[in-house]
């Protein structure tokens, strides 16, 4: 297993200059942070960074796959908001509801993603427009369900966000495991390889008779599933879900993907770059915090990173 993982990592590093660049930036930022602040060097702070990055990591994983096919999912923010509000609203403090609600939310996330995929296949409309539309509808639905924070979660539920194994947050461990599994899937499994094929040359993939519909359904279904994971994690972390929990994730989920070297035009990139991109962004915000730089400037820094990243990786000419 471990040789498989390292072989896969080696291959994805060779194919993805983004991984090297982001890794170098990550190390540089770690050194910089360690130099400027004693408090930065503490184990607690590192765990803190890992904890803060978990929600973003989970949704960015799903987003990576949709972008690899040359698509995008702009409905992730509303999906997270809806699922998070439903999670706390349905559990509503009743510990016996935790298990059935979690199962239901994961299924619902999957179904929402599959609906996106089906609409993209049937309507032949660009994923950007389809998911913009479904995202808008979902935002309306969650506001119909509740205009503010809904319900509450019992004490035990927050364990999902704050529980630790050997001192490491459970969420952070889960992130590494699921990224590794998806990395293996898209590197070694036939359906996973088709994701790259569809993203690289959609028309060519169709001519070769690849199961394009199956690929689209897989990536959007999985993206919806990732939204459900994010929603459950965020609900556990904040103790309650509200109709704007996911608002910012629609666009911020794209940032680590492109920073990690996955091209918006599809066909190139991978999940390792995305994970490093997530860590880089969380680390950057953390370092800026230690430098007492306000969140306003953190926003500017994030925008500049996107510009820098997309300027380094030159994309083939694309339409959107």
């Amino acid at each position: 297993m471990s040789t498989l993982v390292s072989a896969g990592m080696a291959r994805s590093i060779r194919k993805n200059q983004g991984v090297i660049i982001v890794f170098a930036l990550l190390v540089a930022l770690l050194v910089f942070g360690a130099v400027i602040s004693d408090r930065f060097r503490t184990t607690n702070n590192v765990l803190n960074i890992l904890e803060q990055s978990t929600g973003l990591a989970l949704v960015s994983l799903g987003q990576t796959l949709t972008i690899l096919t040359g698509g995008i999912d702009l409905s992730v923010g509303s999906t997270i908001s809806l699922l998070s509000t439903l999670t706390s609203g349905l559990i509503n403090g009743d510990a016996s509801m935790i298990a059935p609600v979690i199962v239901g939310i994961l299924l619902l996330g999957l179904v929402i993603g599959l609906i996106n995929g089906l609409l993209i296949i049937w309507l032949k409309v660009h994923p950007l427009i389809v998911t913009l539309g479904t995202g808008t509808v979902l935002q309306g639905l969650v506001l119909l369900y509740s205009l503010g924070p809904a319900g509450k979660v019992p004490k035990g539920f927050t364990f999902l966000a704050y529980g630790k194994f050997l001192g490491i947050p459970l969420g952070a461990i889960f992130v590494v495991v699921i990224f590794a599994l998806v990395g293996l899937f898209i590197t070694y499994f036939r359906l996973g390889r088709y994701i790259y094929a569809v993203g690289d040359d959609d028309a060519g993939a169709r001519l070769m008779g690849l199961p394009r519909a199956k690929v689209i359904l897989t990536v959007y279904g999985f993206c919806g599933f990732c939204c459900a994971l994010t929603a459950i994690y965020l609900t556990a972390r904040f103790g309650v879900g509200q109709p704007y929990t996911g608002l910012n994730y629609t666009l911020t989920s794209i940032t680590p993907v492109v920073v990690g070297g996955t091209l918006l035009s599809g066909g190139k990139g991978g999940v390792l770059g995305t994970l490093l991109g997530v860590y880089l962004i969380s680390l950057l915000n953390n370092v800026l915090n230690f430098m007492d730089i306000s969140t306003h400037y953190q926003l500017i820094a994030q925008g500049l990173i996107v510009i820098a990243a997309v300027s380094i990786y030159v994309e083939k000419r694309k339409r959107i």
Partner: protein, 324 residues
């Protein structure tokens, strides 16, 4: 991102013949008229002079943004930074002195910011081959950060009376901002539909390779397109700040998506090279009528959002089928 070849390579349907075929290009105006009639029957208040005047007031800022968005989308791009440009322009308009004497510098600075943003967008898209989605997303975030850093999160000041009048007053029931929209609409319609530059926009958007073979400077055309979008967004921001009348860091929030939706509904294809300003403005009108009708029918505001989402997908699906 994905190229839209799957839309084109799908099985061809025969040319739609007969009345339906001939009416298809006018689908949106017909739909708009039908909607107005139905809304008027269900709720007579919909057709009151007051309500119509109100809808026109709301339509103008969106319409102005859609004009700019039309150029960018015809050039195979899209501009997500318009809402950020609008809010920044509005914050400047209010953060200055609130005096009429400062209208000219406010206008110059606001449009300057819009033009500069458009220039950065255009340069990123052409010279660095950044996808328009990411380029304009990044400038949107940066501009938002600059705005918040400048106002420290709490903008202050007053909207100068000139912009109050422009944004919210009417002349015998006709809003001043609608007059501005008409003037801008005519100017940019001539530029896009009748000028040499307009033809270059369509050729570049339709097929960049053809454009290069014809000796068109595609990069220059594209950059100008983004500059037009940025400049018009700044003007729309000033107009909207006059309509809202208060200081707000989020003036124009949602306009980036609404303007794209209006353009797509108006037949401007995200694949580039197709559509026009008139269609885009009809798209904006349909959106405004839908929003207004939902409220007038006493439906919860959430239905505005839900209906908007359905309309986006349905309109896009309609045009994909028509252009096959």
């Amino acid at each position: 991102m994905v190229d839209l070849s799957h839309a084109k390579s799908a099985e061809l349907t025969g040319p739609t013949a007969g009345i339906a075929g001939r009416l298809a290009p006018y689908a949106l105006p017909i739909f708009l008229v039908l909607m107005i009639i139905v809304a008027g029957i269900i709720s007579p208040a919909f057709l009151s002079a007051n309500n119509i005047s109100n809808m026109l007031l709301q339509a103008a800022p969106l319409g102005i943004v859609v004009i700019g968005q039309a150029f960018v989308i015809i050039l195979r791009g899209l501009d997500l930074s318009v809402s950020s440009v609008m809010a920044t322009a509005a914050v400047i308009a209010t953060g200055f002195s609130g005096q009429n004497a400062d209208v000219v510098p406010i206008l110059l600075i606001a449009v300057g910011i819009g033009v500069a943003t458009g220039l950065v967008n255009g340069l990123l898209v052409t010279k660095r081959s950044v996808s328009p989605f990411l380029a304009t997303l990044a400038t949107m975030i940066v501009l938002q950060g600059i705005r918040f850093a400048y106002t420290q999160g709490a903008p202050s000041g007053n909207v100068p009376p000139f912009f109050r009048t422009l944004g919210s007053a009417t002349w015998y029931g006709i809003p001043y901002n609608l007059m501005l929209l008409v003037v801008l609409g005519v100017i940019f319609w001539i530029l896009l539909a009748k000028s040499r530059f307009g033809r270059e926009v369509y050729i570049t958007g339709g097929n960049p390779t053809t454009a290069r073979l014809l000796g068109i400077n595609a990069d220059r055309v594209t950059i100008i397109g983004y500059i037009i979008s940025g400049g018009l967004a700044a003007i729309a921001g000033l107009v909207l700040s006059g309509y809202v009348g208060i200081v707000d860091n989020w003036v124009g929030r949602g306009f980036e998506l609404d303007s794209i939706v209006a353009a797509v509904m108006g037949g401007i294809s995200l694949a580039g090279g197709r559509g026009g300003i008139v269609g885009g403005l009809f798209g904006a009108a349909v959106l405004i009528v839908v929003f207004n009708a939902v409220l007038l029918f006493g439906l919860p505001v959430q239905f505005q959002i839900i209906i908007k989402g359905i309309v986006i997908v349905a309109a896009a699906a309609f045009y994909v089928r028509r252009t096959q």
